[in-house]
Symmetry: C2
Subunit: 250 residues, 2 copies
DNA sequence: TGCATTCATTGATTTGAGTCAAAAAACGCA
DNA sequence: TGCGTTTTTTGACTCAAATCAATGAATGCA
């Protein structure tokens, strides 16, 4: 009980990260993919005024499942995870958030998931109330947000098929293929490059994404390596040697 | 043109569709909960002109996973399911659609799921292109749609925790509790009534919702019955006798 | 009313993934 | 460079849920 309280206190402290004045959106790398993409200069300026940039280091959380969430944010750099968990500690990663993706629940008060940085992350953070007001009066932003949310919903539902109906080997294969696509977007589009990527998470997190245990994930990885379908030069990087074979397993 | 395509599609798909002129939204039972809730009379009239009401009988599908979806819709009466499936026939129900819920993917061309009526269903159907145009010029409708989509996303992610991390008994308990809440909304709010409800689906569909087999669902149901936690007067209705015990299992 | 069909239950058995436990490898840091 | 810590791998074993196979109930229709 005291332990729980202590953890809550620590959580609160976590938020106090490097708060930086928001610099010009004009130099923002994800500006044309994020929800602010369709805003003009003056609108961008107004949005600028209600938000600020913030760094979050790997492992730190921005909001917690079931707690009041008074902010929303845009990921500028880094990767975050959305998690839901049961009382006994079992955890499921229910979403991954990449640069240009949106975080939080506009027009709602409590966060349905915990949001945690997987790598060091740079965010554009907005107080939710101010963001809600801004959004309501800027249809082009709401439109963009709607489009993104609809895509996320489709992606989440696709993942439900994996969680509910796929075997461990199918889950791993699907995961590796999706990761190679997702992480390729950031890097060069060269085939050789996209077949080698560095996972931003360890085995336990892979297990939490796929609804498996760490041991099962590990065994599947080594099996694929032994079969020459993938290579694992170090524990974070994956090289897909035989994409066809992997696709056949997915 | 779009209308012609739409009619052709309906014929090809053999949807028995009593296409009725859309009657006045003013008498619509779900009007104040659906996306059209915030529209005024003239806007409602304009929306009226691009859509029409349609009956779909139980078991018939409105759109298919991976195929072009030229329409979006609002459920007026009945229940529909969204399914994703694998080539070998394994199926996962990834969403349930109740009266006032929205169906389809605005601003996108292909449907990510198959949408099928579970009971006889009454819909407000709109050609997607026309709906997109209307939505883009009616921020209040887009706002409503965004809010609904965000809620759906939270719900889907909550379901991912169940699919990925819960045991069969936990899945069944969570399912029964959620169903009693969901189905209670339609009926009377009396406690006695909400503890007895008629499932709109058979055992196989329950299995497809929970990522289980029909045998496991059946065994869990009979176990709960033997333990006196629920009663099963006929194969569709469930009576929750000991809600506390059920919550303890969830 | 009876028959056929679909749907649900029950039982026996198998198996894939989880659990428990230990060893090995990688990593960070003094 | 070496040491302690964390992460990953590997092995032995267990068990929950799937599979396979009948049987039993409910439902609809001729």
């Amino acid at each position: 009980m005291a332990d729980e309280l202590h953890r809550l206190q620590l959580r609160r402290l976590n938020i106090a990260s490097n708060v930086i004045d928001m610099n010009q959106c004009s130099v923002c790398l994800i500006r044309n993919r994020a929800i602010c993409a369709d805003l003009d200069a003056s609108e961008l300026d107004a949005l600028n005024k209600i938000g600020h940039q913030q760094q979050i280091e790997s492992g730190r959380s921005l909001m917690w499942e079931g707690e009041d969430a008074h902010l929303v944010a845009n990921v500028v750099e880094g990767v975050m995870k959305l998690t839901s968990s049961l009382e006994d500690g079992r955890e499921q990663i229910v979403g991954l958030v990449y640069p240009s993706d949106f975080i939080g629940r506009p027009y709602g008060t409590t966060s349905a998931q915990t949001v945690t940085a997987i790598t060091d992350t740079k965010l554009c953070v907005f107080p939710r109330a101010a963001f809600d007001d801004f959004a309501k009066s800027h249809p082009r932003l709401e439109h963009k947000l709607l489009d993104k949310t609809l895509s996320e919903l489709d992606r989440a539902r696709q993942w439900m098929l994996l969680l509910g109906r796929k075997s461990a080997s199918e889950k791993i294969a699907s995961f590796l293929l999706e990761m190679s696509e997702r992480l390729a977007e950031q890097g060069c589009a060269d085939v050789a490059v996209t077949s080698s990527f560095k996972l931003p998470f360890g085995r336990q997190q892979v297990a939490d994404i796929l609804g498996l245990t760490i041991e099962t994930v590990s065994r599947q990885f080594t099996r694929l390596k032994k079969q020459g379908i993938i290579d694992l030069p170090d524990r974070r990087t994956v090289v897909i040697l035989d994409r066809g074979a992997l696709a056949l397993e997915a």
